[in-house]
């Protein structure tokens, strides 16, 4: 029997909720573990190995001192997967980039703040090449399994380029705009199965903008419900969807498509 692919989990600045989502999968995770060997997962196990094929990396980069660790992971991994919005787009804390670091450190630590390192919040793709992106705050566990299956079959995984609105309609959920809430569903990337709108809450855009969002249609939908573009623009700032970091990450994700096809079933080359 061929050797099982070796997988590893790592994290940088984040809440670790995406790894928790994986750990919370239960039965499907046990099934996956029959096909792979987890060799490093600091949050869940003390065993450790630097010999791995697929690295799932959660979190954003906020300190230059963390870059060597990410580069080492990149060098070792045949496939590097950005796990969750902190890793793919920077995460909710990207909006700290709008504030002066010195002021933030003073705010939290008073006069003693200067001793701590804090830099710009960057998605992983700003530092290393990323082979697959799993968006979401947190990730959708089913999408994680889909991505894992793609990788194990040596296939590239492209995040869905349909908006959340599309998935919401397919599920026949009540439109939250009709419930009186402004919603980013028309322009946000799907793949979450519209979890937020399924519970009557609006979409806050945690998965980033869909490729080529149909802004004219979105504008019309908003206008029908009495909203203007400036209302929705304010919501873009929750996940800093208009920030240079997010725009760059989006572009990088688009360019990196196909990276995996070049090395199908990459662990076979071990």
């Amino acid at each position: 029997m061929a050797e099982k692919p070796r997988i590893a989990f790592f994290d940088f600045a984040c809440c670790e909720g995406c790894q928790l989502t994986v750990l919370g999968l239960g039965e499907p995770l046990l099934k996956l573990l029959e096909r792979v060997e987890v060799v490093t997962w600091r949050e869940a196990m003390s065993e450790r190995s630097d010999d791995f094929d697929i690295a799932f990396v959660e979190g954003s980069i906020t300190r230059d001192s963390d870059i060597p660790r990410l580069r080492r992971i990149r060098e070792q991994a045949k496939v590097l997967v950005a796990l969750g919005t902190c890793a793919t787009l920077g995460g909710p804390h990207v909006s700290a980039n709008n504030c002066d670091r010195g002021e933030l450190l003073r705010l939290v630590y008073g006069g003693e703040g200067a001793q701590f390192e804090a830099g710009e919040v960057r998605p992983l793709s700003a530092v290393v090449q990323v082979d697959a992106f799993i968006h979401g705050c947190p990730i959708n566990g089913d999408e994680f399994l889909t991505v894992a299956n793609h990788l194990l079959l040596g296939k590239a995984y492209h995040p869905p380029s349909r908006p959340v609105c599309h998935e919401c309609k397919l599920n026949q959920y009540e439109c939250v705009l009709d419930r009186g809430q402004i919603c980013l569903g028309p322009v946000t990337r799907g793949g979450c199965d519209a979890i937020c709108t399924s519970r009557g809450s609006q979409c806050f855009g945690c998965r980033g903008l869909v490729d080529d969002p149909n802004l004219n249609a979105a504008r019309e939908v908003l206008a029908e419900h009495g909203y203007t573009v400036s209302d929705i623009i304010g919501m873009f700032d929750i996940y800093s969807l208009r920030s240079p970091a997010a725009a760059e990450a989006r572009e990088t994700a688009r360019q990196d498509r196909g990276a995996i096809e070049k090395g199908a079933e990459p662990w076979r080359s071990r």
Binding site: E16, L20, L30, W41, P92, A96, Q115, C137, P138, R179
Partner: protein, 419 residues
């Protein structure tokens, strides 16, 4: 003997153990938090009242519901919003869901391997599949309970200022109630498993701090009580808890009456054990946890007791919610206004406070979050200093493992503590 554990495993976040023992004397011993700072208190400023709890939940992936709950309470107080009786019960239910799943994760996946001489739960998948299946059942049922009420465990969707966007389906509540009832044999097995584990002997009396309500075992609201016989209303937490910066940690430390205090399951059980569900009190006796217990390693045992409590209390809460009977919930109408509010929850790891000021447009202008793990760090350092001399006859490897076990018994949530 020099101990340096970099990025201790089987905890949430990044921290190091640094200790030095020379001839039975402790030269230094501390837990070094090296987690990156995300500045939630900075970037919450400028966000609107409706967005704040959505973001605040993202401080932590394990205790997202606690953050959401404390955050919502603070916002509700600032905006003058009251919860319906049903919404109050639903809030208690999701706190139970989180404590159940988080404790199950810690007891089985993070803490237990040390007692079994394992490095993780992974080897048990082959040698003790029924134990792994039980661990997943307990954890997953907590997740499912959260899913039924707020859409998901990390990060909750349906809890909003003033209530919920939607009520749970009655059939879903009944189905999850059945699953909770079916956990009873697993609860017994968990208590039995704990009884077989050899808990390190250690005793260091300290101050125990948690929330308390007169009417029930509190995981949210009420007042802050100390085992020193003192209490303060949540809104005046600043008079009690003094946070301070230490150079070896990006997470602040805290103190009240003593040099340090403990929060979390052991503090709650020590202070409030009389309010536990009778089944949980029986578990407490079976385990041999006698409040006040001064052995920090027993924090994990206190979590086992709370697992029993949360399952039984959730069944009772679902019955109460269904008997009201169940009402539809709708995103409440809110008028923004200026105000201040302080909210508090008992996260799985202990007392959690969110404190906000809003301007007239309902935009947050000031945010302060006091995290359980911060409050425990000074106590952890004091425990390490007290424990080390007792280990001087042991090998380096044994000392290191014992210190790691001590850290894990706190179930630290490190990225949360730095936020």
């Amino acid at each position: 003997m020099e101990i340096k554990v970099e990025h201790i495993t089987r905890v949430e976040g990044h921290g190091n153990i640094v200790a030095s023992l020379q001839g039975g004397r402790v030269e230094q011993a501390f837990f070094q938090v090296v987690e990156a700072i995300r500045f939630f208190e900075g970037f919450l400023r400028g966000k609107s009242w409706r967005e704040v709890s959505h973001l605040a939940s993202r401080i932590c992936g394990i205790c997202a519901i606690s953050h959401s709950t404390a955050s919502l309470q603070a916002t509700e107080q600032a905006l003058g919003l009251a919860l319906s009786p049903q919404a109050q019960l639903l809030r208690r239910l999701i706190m139970n869901a989180e404590i159940l799943s988080s404790h199950a994760l810690h007891v089985y996946f993070l803490a237990a391997p040390d007692f079994l001489g394992l490095k993780s739960v992974m080897p048990l998948i082959e040698t003790g599949p029924e134990v792994v299946a039980r661990a997943f059942r307990l954890k997953k049922t907590g997740y499912e309970l959260a899913e039924v009420v707020v859409g998901r465990h990390t990060h909750p969707v349906a809890a909003v200022p003033g209530g919920f966007t939607m009520a749970p389906e009655e059939s879903a509540l009944r189905a999850v109630r059945d699953k909770l009832t079916a956990l009873r044999p697993d609860l017994e097995a968990t208590v039995e498993l704990w009884k077989t584990l050899e808990v390190p002997e250690f005793s260091r009396p300290t101050e125990y701090v948690c929330l308390r309500r007169p009417e029930y075992y509190a995981f949210e609201g009420g007042e802050i009580v100390s085992s020193e016989g003192d209490s303060v209303p949540v809104a005046r937490y600043g008079e009690a808890i003094e946070e301070h910066v230490v150079s070896h940690s990006t997470a602040k430390h805290a103190r009240w009456h003593r040099e340090s205090y403990l929060v979390g399951a052991l503090a709650r059980v020590n202070n409030n054990w009389r309010q536990l569900h009778p089944a949980a009190r029986r578990a407490m006796e079976a385990i041999g946890l006698q409040p006040p217990c001064h052995n920090t390693f027993m924090n994990t045992a206190a979590q086992v007791v709370e697992i029993v409590h949360c399952v039984e209390d959730s069944i009772a809460l679902i019955d109460e919610i269904l008997s009201l009977p169940l009402q539809e919930e709708w995103e409440p109408e809110v008028t923004a206004r200026a105000g201040e509010g302080v909210g508090a929850a008992e996260a799985p790891r202990g007392l959690l406070i969110h404190d906000y000021t809003y301007d007239e447009q309902g935009r947050c202008v000031r945010a302060n979050c006091v995290i359980p793990t911060n409050q425990n760090l000074a106590n952890l350092d004091a425990d390490m200093r007290a424990l080390l001399p007792q280990l001087s006859a042991r090998t380096q490897e044994e000392v290191q493992l014992r210190l790691e076990m001590l850290v894990r018994s706190y179930d630290p949530c490190i990225s949360c503590s730095v936020h």
